[in-house]
Amino acid sequence: MKKRIIKIIIALILYVFSIVVKFDNIWINNAIFILSYIIVGYEILKKALRNVFRGKIFDENFLMTVATIGAFGIGEFPEAVAVMLFYQIGELFQSYAVNKSRKSVSSLMDIRPDYANVYRNNKEEKVSPNEVKIGETIIVKPGEKVPLDGYVIEGKTTLDTKALTGESLPREAFEGEEVLSGCININGVIKLKVTKEYGESTVSKILDLVENASSRKSKSENFITKFALVYTPLVVVIALLLAIIPPLLIESQDFSVWLYRALSFLVVSCPCALVISIPLSFFGGIGGASKMGILIKGSNYLEALSKVETMVFDKTGTLTKGVFEVQKIKAIDISQEELLKLTAYSENYSNHPISKSIKKAYGKEIDENQIIKTQELPGLGISAIIDKKDVLVGNEKLMNEKNIPFSKCNDVGTILYVAVEGKYAGYILIADKEKEDSKKTIKELKKNGIKQTVMLTGDKKSVGESVAKKLGLDKVYTELLPDGKVKKVEELLKAKSEKGKLAFVGDGINDSPVLALADIGIAMGGLGADSAIEAADIVIMTDEPSKILKAIKLSKKTMIIVKENIVFAIFVKILILILTALGLSTMWWAVFADVGVSIIAIINALRALIVKNIK
């Protein structure tokens, strides 16, 4: 790199000198031009010679050599040097830009652990994560990356999951807790029992996925590859015809004028701007997405995402949290606090999810001395004596059985009716809760070109419909068994327009057939769920639906960049070719159409990496 820069600078100085200072003998100027040309173009000449012996006549080095030597031949010394000089500057810039984006993408994914402190023979050893076996004990100190998946056997700490999820939400890790590789240990020292080899650990799975992403090519990339295959030979053939035919057909035409035009054609014949900037845009887009905690498995999926018109959601765990929570407390003649307390005390010895959610809502220490007696009434509820009070907690049947008059609650969810001392005291409603950002996401998706939002659920009709209405979905299908979901998605796939895509969003746990069936399968909550990472095309590491919106915005942005580059590059090249053929353009413009367009397209492509303004 350094050597190339020095060569370019020396050649540039010689070039400018020869243009500014005019010697009486023009051959002194020309000699300086040739010297400058050799300094900057030697490598190209060497490659060109080598390639042409291998029969690669459409090689860009060869074409540049022909164009410049031809220009020397017709006496256009300054042009000849300039073409080579700017071509080299363009190449230099290109490799700089590519290197830079390579680095910034790999620094986004700077989660690869360099070593592991493994505990062997009562000693701590620093080894490569590859060498650690399942069942061994490793030590992770503050500031270090967790090198392998495992669970904590000693110590406690806070972990930073930013590298995996895109969010710096600290996560507590204590004894018995599972810890994923790729997290950064913030404060405490922990000892882990390794549960997975490095190759199977979260960190290497994620790295593999993103690094292989750009090998699944998008339609735009395939188009460019095909275009490049045709473009260069076509331009070269036209150049050849341009040099031979007009001077033969039209009398009094100067051969050198047409040769000059033909040589300018050769300068524009490289499709470099497109060939590099399009994959670079996708590469940047995928890199930018992983910075937000969104893993995209291929450029094709990033492209398809911009064309989604039907978005199908699974309900539980996707739009809703999938955990039961106390939603409503209605107390009659006693305080809400008291009602919740008595219920929590009554449910104290039960491990049912419903009981757990009540204890969680109560949130205070339970003084077991106050629980005099509890008795489970199968199919009805619990009867208890709490602090000298008779308490009944259960369903409608329980109230009817005990002849307690109560007012029925018609809300959706599980309802616990409570009676104290034989008198109705109110109810507690427990239901699965929508995620905070679900409603907003559905609304925003509509604004971003999604025509239809659909929810599928195995839940009861009343529950499903009430959630769908609350969140503002267009359609909901309820009481579906897993194969029913497959059938619905098949129907929706048939119903959508030909160009539009269908995306399915699920949690990846038992919906892999649907994830595979949809044009794009998106799995949420990928962190720690290997099955989701494997089954889906796009993995959202956290469980926020709003990330889907971000992914769509990013894909649209990337596609705009791609289109801008395609249209801009092809337009400028064709325009310059036409003007050149008509004699209205010079070789200087040809250099711009080649190098200038490349540089502009690359700078534009690098924008795909920037995700700060995607909200």
Binding site: R54, S215, V275
Partner: protein, 73 residues
């Protein structure tokens, strides 16, 4: 059988796709993918006489792009 290589010294994306086409023609190579941006080559090839196939791949690279070096990862 699948192998991954780091591929150094490729000049341009176009060269990468040309090289890809040349390698794909080798007997025994099932699929090949050269990623210009990540500088990686993924080759899938027949299990039997795998060493011979890799030798051929190296030869094709030497012929097409003499400045390119590969190393197995």
């Amino acid at each position: 059988m699948n192998s991954k290589f780091r591929i150094n010294g490729l000049d341009c994306a176009n060269c990468a796709s040309e090289l890809e086409r040349a390698i794909r023609k080798i007997d025994g190579v099932i699929s090949v993918n050269i990623n210009f941006l990540t500088q990686k080559m993924d080759i899938e090839y027949a299990e039997n006489n795998k060493e011979e196939i890799i030798e051929k791949v190296k030869k094709v690279i030497k012929r097409q792009e003499p400045d390119v070096t590969i190393e197995k990862i």
